[in-house]
Subunit: 311 residues, 2 copies
């Protein structure tokens, strides 16, 4: 199952982190933007070309240090279909460099429609007698509000194509408790209830290292819930957003890991992408600054969790 | 607010329905597919060209009868970025023909990312000194699992650009009750709790006809909940999927409407798109068959709810 590939890559690099690729034009060095606009004009195509060049630079600098990237669909859709083409090209480039790609789309719908999303983001589609991989990520983030029949089509594609999913359980944003922390009559919160469903869904995608192909999104900004969920969801791998710009630190994410240093991958987006701006680096050093921040983050987290070993 | 424009269009055409545009290659007449493949090959571009021609035919035939279309993003993403370009072109064509466009993306994320989704689907984006409308729908379906700060950026764009949103409350699929029907300690179900939030969020987007710019998705397949929610959510306009292929009928959707025949728009996708296949029509009559089914659906529903009048 696909999360096994992520786990192996994390162990190989001794780095349980993922770099979020959420590019906005304002994060991109002026020289890259100007080159793209010179070629395509100040158009959506021009913006998309700048995004892609920025991403490629980041991927080149990160791929020997960081096991995975997580492009967030919203930042590509914001630049229209040319942006969505840049999403495709970014995924292909990162995979080509050996990185595991988590497409962050938080997709959700009824069963028939989830078949289409599963084909789009993790699977393939047939056109006449040809078969195409529309986006080709290794894993997709999804929202479980619609229950099992919105998840089952994904499990089918995950099994066939060696892919994984991450279901939103406890999100990192300030208002995540508004619904997620409410307690059902049986005594479980909404987030714990979705967590239990992840364990059930995961039974269909067992993994080699104790974690299934159905992961959970649990925010670094709620370390108490992170600890509680790590203890109750023993087969569920966590994608942990909220480190860095959103406020979570290494001590906050430590409870997400098991005694082998496995069990989670921690995401940082802005703190890596914008490291060159924050550190006052020259703009041609944007990728170097990103890699330096990624190494700093890796060191900070592994100092808390120790050596990562496969069971 | 944008749902006022939808309400006015519904009243003008005396038709409270929306045609779902969820095209799959298998729904499209062979002559359209062959023409597209002859030009672009059996490629994603070829598939997208076939989708767009099919949609344009449907829109031409439906625009004088049906007030709105609802393209479902998944069916476009399934054909990669060329499919997403066809989504953009479909939205533009439908708006050009005077139709109200509900982009069915069920998007959801943290606040900073929802700003990007809001710009993508309802707003605009700046590239250098130019401004672009990436997709330009009139309303977007969204998932409220992340709470208010995942919704607020949408409300800002809705206010500025005269747009609306529909939040998933009680979905039409068989397993929708798995989470949505569970009861919180306070006595409310999850779906009723999200419904109440819609009423609160809607206070920021008041409308001329008693309904706010924050609508709710409530499935035709659960008429009891539809009735309950219509009574409790007095300011919230409903988008009602599940009519037709999913099993809901006119009597099932009648409780979604108020005494003026307002308060809801009922979606049918496959029953309209595939009417030509179901009725054994010649394939060149696909659009005529869709319009006939749309008229039948309109007549069936308006027979239940009577004349639609603005308060």
């Amino acid at each position: 199952m696909a999360l096994d590939r992520l786990i192996e890559k994390i162990t190989e690099l001794q780095n349980p982190t993922v770099a979020g690729l959420d590019p906005k034009l304002g994060y991109i060095p002026a020289s890259i933007r100007e080159r793209a606009f010179a070629r395509y004009g100040e158009t959506l195509e021009g913006a998309a070309a700048a995004l892609l060049e920025f991403n490629k630079g980041l991927i080149d600098a990160l791929c020997s240090v960081v096991p995975a990237v997580k492009p967030q669909c919203a930042y590509y859709e914001m630049y229209g279909w040319p942006g969505v083409k840049a999403l495709h090209d970014t995924i292909a480039y990162a995979r080509d460099k050996g990185m595991f790609v988590i497409t962050d789309g938080k997709r959700n719908d009824i069963g028939a429609t989830m078949e289409a999303y599963a084909a789009a983001h993790l699977g393939s589609v047939t056109v006449g007698s040809a078969e195409y991989t529309p986006f080709g990520g290794d894993a997709l983030t999804v929202n479980g509000y619609l229950g099992s029949d919105g998840i089952n089509p994904l499990l089918t594609v995950c099994r066939e194509k060696d892919k994984g999913i991450f279901v939103l359980v406890k999100t990192s944003n300030p208002s995540s408790g508004e619904l997620q922390n409410q307690v059902f009559e049986g005594g479980d919160t909404l987030y714990a209830t979705v967590g239990k469903l992840c364990e059930e869904w995961g039974e269909q995608l067992p993994g080699k290292y104790g974690y299934s192909g159905v992961g959970a999104v649990v925010g670094a900004t709620y370390p108490e819930q992170l600890r509680e969920l790590r203890q109750s969801l023993t087969r569920t791998f966590f994608l942990v957003p909220g480190y860095g710009a959103q406020g979570g630190g290494a001590k906050d994410v430590a409870p997400a890991f098991d005694q082998n240093g496995l069990g989670a991958v921690v995401n940082a987006s802005r703190s890596i992408m914008c490291a060159w701006q924050k550190n006052g680096a020259a703009e041609q050093d944007f990728a170097k600054a990103a890699a330096q921040e990624a190494v700093r983050m890796r060191n900070e987290i592994t100092a808390e969790i120790g050596k990562i070993t496969l069971k």
